[in-house]
């Protein structure tokens, strides 16, 4: 099967600042990839580019061979670091919203996950705590049968119990035909679910490796590698 994601020489500049330089990356299907970097390294920018929220200054991005655009929006499920729900919504409105717009939305799966995450359908979105909100956002993102899932900091700022639930959900709903890219700077809790990791520092791709190779070859955990790569 061909690659789910292909980034070719991606550059993103804001005025004088280079947010991303020369990023080239391929992701095969069935992979769970960790996109690692400190805050401001360019991880979110990268994800937004793939999701179509930003446009590259140069370079191409293709999702299952198609350039980023209207078609790929149906193939990519993005969970950004801010909520995708509108303030007037209740949980069940959010589900209906996704169901109405995304053909690949699996409503039953969503209900299952809501249960699993202890979310109540009649709750108002603006009354949810931060942790509950994250669970909801994740539910919405993962209930779609997308080819590529982009999760931007799904476990940051969330209590350990919620964190565990989120990791559980990610593993449970894994599919060999799709891939996940998860960006985080909390490496320790999550490194076990990664197939490979990509390190981004100051907009550049500094390392890309299979996680078990890191452990075999270097005898280091991803967490330790992270500290080395980003040491000041």
């Amino acid at each position: 099967m061909s690659n789910i994601l292909e980034l070719n020489q991606i550059n993103k500049t804001y005025g004088n600042k280079k947010a991303l330089s020369n990023i080239t990356l391929d992701i095969a299907p069935g992979r769970i990839v960790g996109l690692l970097g400190s805050n401001g390294s360019g991880k979110s920018t990268l994800m937004k580019l793939v999701a179509g929220l930003l446009h590259p200054s140069s370079g191409t991005i293709q999702v299952t061979g198609k350039p980023v655009g209207l078609e790929t929006k149906s193939l990519v499920s993005f969970m950004p670091d801010c909520p995708l729900t509108e303030k007037w919504m209740r949980v069940r409105d959010a589900i209906a919203y996704y169901r109405d717009f995304y053909a690949d939305f699996d409503e039953e799966k969503a209900r299952e996950m809501l249960d699993f995450m202890n979310l109540v359908e009649s709750d108002r979105v603006r009354h949810l705590s931060k942790g509950m909100n994250e669970r909801l956002q994740l539910t919405l993102a993962l209930s779609r049968k997308a080819r590529l899932y982009l999760l931007d900091e799904p476990i940051g700022g969330v209590d350990p119990v919620a964190r565990g639930k989120i990791l559980d959900a990610i593993v449970k709903f894994y599919d060999e035909e799709s891939s996940l890219i998860i960006s985080t700077h909390l490496v320790n809790d999550i490194e076990r679910i990664f197939d490979e990791v990509v390190f981004i520092r100051e907009g550049e791709l500094v390392m890309r490796e299979e996680v078990e190779t890191l452990r075999l070859k270097y005898g280091k955990s991803v967490d330790e590698m992270f500290k080395e790569v980003y040491a000041e």
Binding site: R31, G164, Y174, N188, R192, F194, D195, E212, R215, S221
Partner: protein, 128 residues
Amino acid sequence: MTIEFDNNLPIYLQIMQYIKRQIVTGTLQAGDKIPSVRELAAELQINPNTVQRTFQELEREEVVETKRGLGRYVTSEERKIMTIKKEMASELLERFLTGMQELGIEEQDILSIVADAVAEGKGGTTHE
């Protein structure tokens, strides 16, 4: 099933060790069915591909076998299980000996220390 993972070592090797231990101690009997890739991945919260790799290695070593359409099972050959037990024991032994040597204990003393420890241990608690 909860395993304390060491993130510095390959996870798949650690799972292999764990499963072997379960077989050798009898928690998993010969011919028992083992969980599917998905089940195990979900239980341990690890990447399914890693679990897959674990099973592939275990199959290669003939510790487990796949029965088409039915799933994965612990090998039914008792001999194989004995071999695993011996392998694990000798690994343990090697580590022990190296450790003792690093402490500077002489070879002849090692034997007597071990004999004493085993005699004392007989009335003690067994741990998993």
